[in-house]
Symmetry: C2
Subunit: 131 residues, 2 copies
């Protein structure tokens, strides 16, 4: 029986503007602090315009022995990228890794912005800014 | 003395995918419920690929008599769009409206995703999904 070794990737859109990345690296640091020290390895990757890319990150994790990878999109909503491009890319990548003898299960989650607590926090901020 | 008539615009990126818009219209409805009934008029607009555009929305609000407009970006971070394109567009628009006799003050806020409560909610969701 193969031992399950999990990892997770926070997926952000990416931007050609280097300053854009900063809040995401801060968020990653904050999340790592809250996760158990011996828990799931958590990385940050970008869909385009910034590095590391999602595919490079997953290849690296797979090469390091991870065989269950959760991808958590830091998006407000799912559009073409998350409903078509990313699933297609992950399917191809999973098949390519399989051919290299790396059997990896990849689970693409719903965008975090769709979760009720995030929507609630956004509402609170907007209502406060307008009051 | 001119009476101040405020309005606000929630600015989302926009997508060619019609389903992408749904969570934002839900968020707008939720925010409108929480704001006082006699308070600031609040609209939703998109930077690209979806309508209404930010400029059309501001023109419409200005034509309706609004002279103080808050623009609140529903973004996780500020990249090229929010730091260059949008401010330049708003400056041009403000000058064009002024020439038409519509003096409008437009205030572009920081992205809501940078606010601590939103970042905290995102961390909570991610930690829960990974636990």
């Amino acid at each position: 029986m193969t031992e399950i070794k999990r990892a997770s990737v926070l997926l952000a859109h990416g931007s050609s503007d280097p300053q854009w990345v900063t809040p995401f690296t801060q968020l990653l640091a904050h999340i790592r602090e809250q996760l158990p020290q011996d828990g799931v390895r958590t990385e940050l990757a970008f869909m385009e315009l910034a590095s590391p890319s999602l595919s490079d990150t997953i290849r690296r994790l797979a090469a390091g022995g991870c065989n269950h990878i959760d991808v958590l999109p830091l998006f407000f909503a799912a559009g073409r990228h998350l409903r078509r491009d990313v699933p297609a890319m992950l399917d191809d990548l999973q098949a390519a890794l399989q051919q290299q003898g790396l059997a990896v299960t990849i689970h693409l989650h719903s965008p975090v912005g769709l979760e009720p607590e995030v929507a609630r926090a956004i509402s609170q901020v907007v209502v406060r800014q307008l009051s």
